[in-house]
């Protein structure tokens, strides 16, 4: 069957799926949805449909993630009128009401309705107009939550594999030119121009070359790669195939951490489908290009996200970085020229090849083209996975997409780039987010973690958290990283415990400098960033810990005490019941008190109090 014929067949399948008068329930069931209970919700729906005799008439389909983590479990229901309503926070107990309302009565179930995907409803906003969605441009996430990720027809019908056929028509050199023209830069963190990188690998002469998809997403709090792999695996695999075609590699590896079992399962399904359709194997679609894809499961070492370590790991060796040169484009996996791109990059590649470089380059800023996904987390109202055009301001991301700081607290900083990144203080809220601007203020794009920090988060404690991560994840090979992370962590710990000295601030800067300039790989070169940027912008907080023995954010246990404001305390006893060490006493309806000897500064009382009567100092 020709590609065009196959595409027609896929189109037909997609039309059936999208048939407006057919009842349909889509359940967001990526790992995040599953963790929130999506599989139980699906079961509840199945049971309820059976009761109503609607089982046959209704499609219940698992889809990927729309990125609205704060609203999990998300369910989209299409009623007989063709209207599609997106519901948030769905639990199994809601199944009956939802089916009754939309599938039986034909009305949106307002208590849970979040948005209208199609059609209008007076009481429910349109999806595209949601403040979280409106500023977004979804290229990498184009299919996530929209298609059935296990159905290649859905992907094909939405333009899938047209990038591949277009690439075959262009020839490898033109594909590389197209990549260069798109301005796409590596989304794994370093931001190296993808087309240029492919050019290096293409120019290496060898009997065998490799392409690798780096799916070893390791930054704490980053999950965009997982989301794409689970929600739209073909977008990534198509990108990998195109990369292989461009550089002349016949084998591609997907290096995915074993902690992502669903992503691996979806990849395996997708690879089998590709093979079935002749998108893998010898002479793909008569192009003369042959390609195979293998999955290598990683054991979860953070350093294996570093390209040379990753290749060592594929080779069966201990994941430890190697010095460059030689660069992978010259001598990489098994000593052969190798090109590595991360998941997000490859998902963008397939879109660029489908729609053209100019279309992609139309988004973003001069040096940072296109879009970037971010895992928005921390003290923010709407946590989630978002995709925005480069150059969007932090303010738009935080206030519009994210809905502002949680509980109306004061915005203090935003941390980007995970353990390798830095903190951007509130003064830069209007910063345009792209590679250059982030670097100018001392942070990095990284893989796209974005953690919002409010007034109650301690910057020293946050730096300590990231250093505890890198101290543990340093492979141990080079001295500055192995020893530097240990010293930084120890000093940060002593500071958060009120035992620090001002001299340590200078020593930490010096250690950070040595790590940055003398470490072997990116892990060590960036591991001091959380310390260096917080020292740059929040030295006052460090000094408060050291000199005043106070944690201004009220977060460092050794330096704070909790007291109950007798004027505000109603004597409700909520704090007393919440206290794990029975440090709180008081008569009913009388102000309570905290025994400082017993108190372990856990803050449970403060969380439990409804009258903000628990004060921290």
């Amino acid at each position: 069957m020709s590609f065009a014929a196959r595409q027609q067949q896929a189109e037909a399948a997609w039309q059936t799926f999208e048939q407006p008068d057919r009842l349909r329930i889509l359940v967001g069931s990526a790992t995040c949805g599953r963790a929130a209970g999506s599989l139980e919700v699906m079961q509840a729906f199945a049971g309820e449909l059976a009761k109503q005799g609607l089982t046959e008439a209704t499609d219940v389909v698992e889809v990927g993630c729309l990125g609205m983590c704060y609203a999990e479990v998300m369910v989209e229901i299409r009623g007989r009128d063709g209207k599609r309503v997106l519901y948030q926070g769905v639990e199994p107990r809601h199944a009956a009401a939802l089916i009754e309302a939309q599938l039986v009565r034909g009305e949106a179930y307002l208590p849970l309705a979040l948005a209208m995907m199609t059609g209008a409803d007076e009481a429910v906003p349109t999806f595209a107009d949601l403040p979280m969605i409106k500023p977004q441009v979804r290229i990498v996430l184009r299919n996530c939550g929209v298609i059935d990720p296990t159905n290649i027809d859905h992907y094909l019908a939405r333009g899938g594999y047209q990038g591949m056929t277009r690439a075959f028509a262009m020839g490898p050199d033109q594909v590389i030119e197209e990549m260069k023209a798109s301005g796409l830069r590596g989304r794994g963190g370093a931001g190296f121009p993808t087309g240029v990188k492919w050019g290096f690998a293409r120019n290496s002469v060898a009997d065998q070359k490799y392409v690798i998809c780096n799916a070893d997403e390791g930054d704490p709090g980053a999950f965009m790669d997982r989301s794409v792999l689970e929600g739209d695996p073909h977008a990534v695999l198509e990108g990998l195939l195109i990369a292989g075609y461009a550089i002349g590699a016949s084998v591609g590896y997907v290096y995915c951490r074993a902690e992502y079992p669903l992503a691996i399962e979806r990849l395996q399904t997708a690879i089998a489908q590709m093979r079935e359709l002749g998108f893998l194997g010898a002479d793909i679609l008569g192009s003369g290009f042959g390609f195979e894809i293998k999955i290598k499961k990683g054991a979860g070492a953070f350093v294996c996200g570093e390209e040379t370590s990753l290749m060592q790991s594929i080779e069966g060796k201990r994941g430890m970085p190697l010095s460059k040169p030689p660069f992978p484009a010259v001598s990489g996996l098994f000593g052969k020229p190798t090109n590595i791109n991360n998941v997000e990059t490859l998902a963008a590649v397939s879109a660029i090849m489908e729609k053209g470089a100019a279309w992609y380059a139309g988004y973003g800023t001069e040096k940072s083209r296109g879009t970037k996904t971010f895992a928005l987390a921390g003290k923010i109202t709407r946590t989630g996975l978002i995709e925005v055009p480069m150059g969007i301001s932090l303010r738009t991301i935080i206030n519009e997409i994210g809905g502002g700081v949680l509980d109306g607290k004061q915005f203090k900083a935003v941390q980007t780039g995970g353990p390798s990144g830095g903190c951007i203080p509130a003064q830069f809220i209007d910063l345009a987010v792209d590679y250059e601007r982030l670097a100018e203020v001392g942070s990095i794009m990284g893989s796209g973690g974005m953690i919002v920090i409010d007034e109650e988060s301690c910057m020293v404690d946050m730096a300590r958290y990231f250093l505890s991560f890198t101290e543990n994840e340093s492979c141990g090979k080079c001295v500055p990283c192995r020893m530097g992370t240990q010293h930084l962590l120890r000093m940060l710990t002593t500071i958060t415990e009120g035992r620090g000295t001002l001299e340590q601030l200078e020593i930490m800067r010096k250690i950070g400098d040595a790590m940055k300039n003398a470490s072997l790989c990116g892990l060590g070169q960036t591991a001091a960033n959380p310390v260096l940027t917080t020292l740059q912008y929040f030295e006052d907080e460090y000094r408060a810990h050291i000199v005043d023995k106070k944690c201004p954010a009220g977060a460092c246990r050794a330096l704070i005490r909790f007291d109950i404001d007798p004027a505000r305390c109603t004597g409700c006893g909520a704090c007393l019941r919440a206290c794990p060490v029975a440090a709180i006493s008081g008569e009913k309806k009388q102000p309570h008190t905290i025994d400082q000897e017993l108190c372990i500064q856990c803050g449970s009382c403060r969380q439990a109090c409804k009258f903000t009567a628990v004060l921290v100092a």
């Binding site: 190697l322 543990n472 994840e473 340093s474 141990g476 090979k477 001295v479 020893m483 240990q486």
Partner: protein, 837 residues
């Protein structure tokens, strides 16, 4: 390959294409510091010391990994590079015990410290076996670095000694990776690699298996390449830096591997590989066994002649005459039984002797013992009376056969059942003590070089045979040297090859050398499954002794013991000590009482692991018995109210000052306790001491806690603030000596607890005599506490070090300390490692 030209520090350098910047710099004699680079290994780039600046290249690339490119402009020295290198060096040293660099008393200590302290873990300079050879220390010294602004992060790993030959102290490791890289280079699949991550990253075997089962072949390359004292040969560890390297060959089996014999002061320390490559590989026997065989206390050191039931030591002339006498009438009925592990010259001369005596000569395979078929045939001849005298150069004859031979001459290096019932025994030089040539199983002829002295009266076999032949009146044995024999040897056959490949598998090691079971000579070899003679019934009486109630390592090498010893506890007084014997056969060694409880019937001790006897004690655990506890011994301290008393304790003295402080406090003194250690991680008993004194002052040599320095500095500081009426110091001889000099200048009455070598502890032997105020006193009954200002410290130091060499030898001699110390690996268990335990 062509050559390329680049500029380094303004100097034009030509190198082969493919060379690294570091290699190019070396070619131009430009020194760039590095620890992880080695000429026989591929670039690794871990230590980050060799960073340089290259025009047009971002950052600071490592010269060891950067290929030289034509026209490259390299700068190896700049203020920025120095700054970064110094910080990296400081980071590296913060993960390695560093008092050898930062201690302010280092120079004086090196001058006065009489001998190395043979501890388990190397925690400070006097405790480091590798100080003289440490590349890390040399690099730091050349960088002029002796200050550390970072705290020392001591990893506190146990010393690993669960294999026969290596001590591995990963607390010293800087992860340069040379060991596992050389292992990979030589063996393909390395037995060791880096395990774990981050701060727990260290070298280890897969799943923390013992090296015996890890595929390790014990070639010793990792030890030889280790730049720090992390990996050491347990036998050679404390012998110091080798003085001479002599190329030679090993004749322990017919392979005849080429070796480099390392020796010092006439003693063989080790056979090492001739190069870091697969072809130069050695087996465990050659690498580790040879030196221990040569140094064995089972060596024959004197000619012995049987007189009835007894052996009488003879001089050579007398013994040779006796041997000639025994052989004289046996012409035609003599048999020689010679091992193939004998040099060509010696074999030639034995054959000459056999020919001239019209006897026969049996040449036994290298691995053969007295059960060899040829020997069985000989037994028949003995039975039939056709053989009346036998000469053997090893334990090659069964005892029951010897008893039937009228005259047996054994020329050998080691005691054995055969030598025990021979008529005459002549001690022979062996291995590194004897020259000549050796034909290997592959037919090659290898030169044997002399690199160590034979013990006692032992002589090379060629000399013994020539002397014997001349005593027998035979002609043609007038050789002056072994070299004059060499040209005469021709057409000697190549010996049979060994079965298996002992260089690739420790299970293939040959079990015997000249008929001796090697595991009898080097007991640790039994770990590889080598057979040994079953031990006779143990002389130890199980279940008797003093039970250990509690035992903990409270600081590295410092072991706290609580022992049930009711009578000792009942009479103990502050300042007294006990003498312990770990086992019935152990040496007696004295230890100061740290605490006692008469009601409970217990005594407490802090024992520092510093040598053989303390190691035996340290290997015991709660529930075990100490064979003997004698005490309390020595004169107690007179407890009276002196006013302000300053007690200074270092090493074991930190524990030892505890009962003094308590008693002096109770007597109404103002008691100040000062304790010193090289670094904070070596301190212990701070809490306990704080409860028995008015003030506790801590001093560390690296400044990691309290005052930077030692008791010297504390004494000066305290004396400057308040009058000190009495000063008492307990610790190493060096510390006590230094503090008494200061207290003398300050006119502070000073007492010290001396620690000379002691044997009986009751005033009988006099081994512990010391000179105090021009009088000879016995530390055991007149002390141990003396007026510090009267002590002859030089004499004490010299008497303490009188047996330094024997003490080092005792660490590995005959007793299988390895088995004694066997502790299964502590290995945290979440199950994720997959080791199956």
């Amino acid at each position: 390959m062509g050559s390329i030209s680049l500029t380094i520090d303004g100097q034009q350098v030509e190198v082969e294409e493919g060379a690294t910047v570091l290699q190019a710099a070396r070619k131009a004699d430009i020194v760039i510091p590095t620890i992880c680079d080695h000429k026989d290994l591929n670039p690794y780039g871990a230590c980050r010391m060799c960073i340089v600046e290259i025009a047009g290249v971002r950052g600071f690339p490592t010269s060891c990994t950067t290929p030289a490119v034509p026209g490259m402009q390299v700068t190896t020295q700049s203020p920025r590079l120095t700054e970064l290198r110094n910080r990296t060096l400081e980071l590296m040293f913060s993960g390695h015990p560093n008092s050898c660099l930062v201690c302010i008393h280092r120079e004086a200590c090196e001058q006065y410290r009489p001998k190395v302290t043979k501890a388990a873990r190397s925690t400070r300079c006097g405790f480091c076996a590798n100080r003289d050879e440490c590349d890390l220390r040399a690099m730091a010294l050349s960088a002029g670095k002796n200050e550390l602004s970072l705290p020392t992060l001591y990893a506190s790993y146990n010393l690993e000694r669960d294999d026969p030959f290596m001590d591995r102290d990963y607390n010293l490791c800087v992860l340069c990776g040379k060991c596992w890289r050389i292992c990979e280079k030589i063996h393909g699949k390395p037995a060791i690699s880096i395990i774990n991550r981050g701060k727990w990253a260290r070298i280890g075997t897969a799943f923390d298996k013992s090296h015996v089962f890890s595929g390790c072949t014990f070639c010793g390359a990792c030890i030889d390449i280790c730049p720090t004292g992390t990996l050491t040969d347990r036998f050679a560890r404390w012998q110091g830096k080798p003085e001479t390297d002599t190329p030679s060959a090993c004749i322990l089996c017919s392979e005849g591997c080429s070796v480099v014999a390392q020796s010092k002061g006439g003693q063989l320390l080790a056979y090492t590989m001739t190069g870091f490559n697969k072809e130069a590989g050695l087996c465990a026997l050659g690498r580790f066994g040879a030196a221990q065989i040569v140094a064995s206390n089972q060596r024959l050191i004197r000619p012995l002649v049987r007189e009835g039931e007894d052996f009488i030591p003879f001089d050579w002339q007398g013994a040779t005459a006796s041997a000639a006498e025994g052989l004289k009438d046996c012409g035609g009925s003599v048999a020689l039984v010679i091992s193939a592990s004998t040099s060509r010259e010696d074999r030639f001369l034995y054959a000459q002797l056999a020919r001239q005596l019209q006897g026969r000569m049996l040449l036994l395979p290298a691995e053969a013992g007295s059960d060899d078929p040829q020997v069985q045939t000989l037994a028949a001849a003995v039975q039939g009376g056709t053989v009346r005298a036998v000469i053997a150069n090893g334990n090659l004859l069964p005892v029951e056969m010897i008893t039937k031979i009228p005259f047996t001459l054994v020329i050998d290096c080691l005691h054995s059942p055969a030598s025990n019932c021979a008529s005459v025994v002549l001690p022979a030089a062996v291995l590194s003590e004897s020259g000549g040539t050796f034909r290997t199983a592959s037919g090659a002829i290898k030169q044997l070089a002399i690199s160590s002295q034979a013990p006692g009266d032992a002589l090379p076999e060629w000399r013994i045979v020539c002397d014997l032949a001349q005593a027998l009146g035979l002609a043609g044995f007038g050789y002056e040297s072994v070299e004059t024999v060499t040209p005469l040897v021709a057409d000697d056959p190549a010996p049979a090859p060994v079965s298996g490949d002992p260089r690739q598998n420790v299970r293939d090691l040959v079990p015997r050398f000249r008929g001796h079971l090697l595991a009898d000579v080097v007991p640790a070899l039994a770990a590889f499954g080598l057979p040994k003679t079953p031990a006779e019934t143990s002389e130890e009486t199980a279940g008797e002794g003093f039970p250990i109630l509690e035992k903990r390592e409270i600081a590295p090498n410092m072991h706290f013991f609580k022992v049930k010893a009711e009578k000792v506890a009942k009479f103990s007084l502050p300042g007294q000590f006990v003498i312990l014997m770990a086992r019935e056969t152990s040496e007696r060694s004295p230890f100061t009482l740290v605490d006692w409880d008469a009601a409970e019937g217990t005594i407490s001790l802090v024992i520092e692991e510093v040598g053989r006897s303390s190691r035996e004690l340290a290997s015991l655990k709660a529930g075990d018995m100490i064979a003997h506890v004698s005490g309390p011994l020595g004169l107690p301290l007179t407890i009276e109210n002196k006013g302000t008393v300053l007690l200074g304790g270092g090493c074991y003295g930190i524990g030892a000052i505890f009962p003094l402080a308590r008693a002096l406090s109770q007597a109404g003194n103002r008691v100040i306790c000062a304790i010193e250690a090289s670094s904070a991680y070596l301190l212990y008993m701070q809490k306990e001491l704080a409860t028995v004194c008015d003030q506790l002052i801590i001093a560390t040599k690296d400044g990691s806690e309290g005052v930077r320095g030692g008791i010297q500095e504390v004494l000066a500081q305290v004396a400057a603030q308040e009058p000190v009426d009495q000063f008492i110091a307990i610790g190493c001889t060096f510390m006590m000596r230094m503090v008494t000099e200061i207290s003398r200048s300050l006119n502070i009455p000073t007492l010290v607890a001396l620690n000379p070598i002691m044997v009986d502890g009751t005033g009988m032997c006099g081994a512990c005599r010391v000179s105090v105020g021009d009088k000879t006193r016995f530390a055991c009954i007149d002390g141990p506490i003396f007026d510090g200002h009267g002590v002859d410290w030089d004499e004490l130091a010299s008497r303490r070090s009188a047996y330094a060499r024997e003490e080092v030898q005792a660490l590995s001699q005959s007793v299988d300390l390895n088995a004694l110390m066997h502790q299964p690996h502590a290995h945290s268990h979440g199950g994720g490692c997959g080791c199956g335990r």
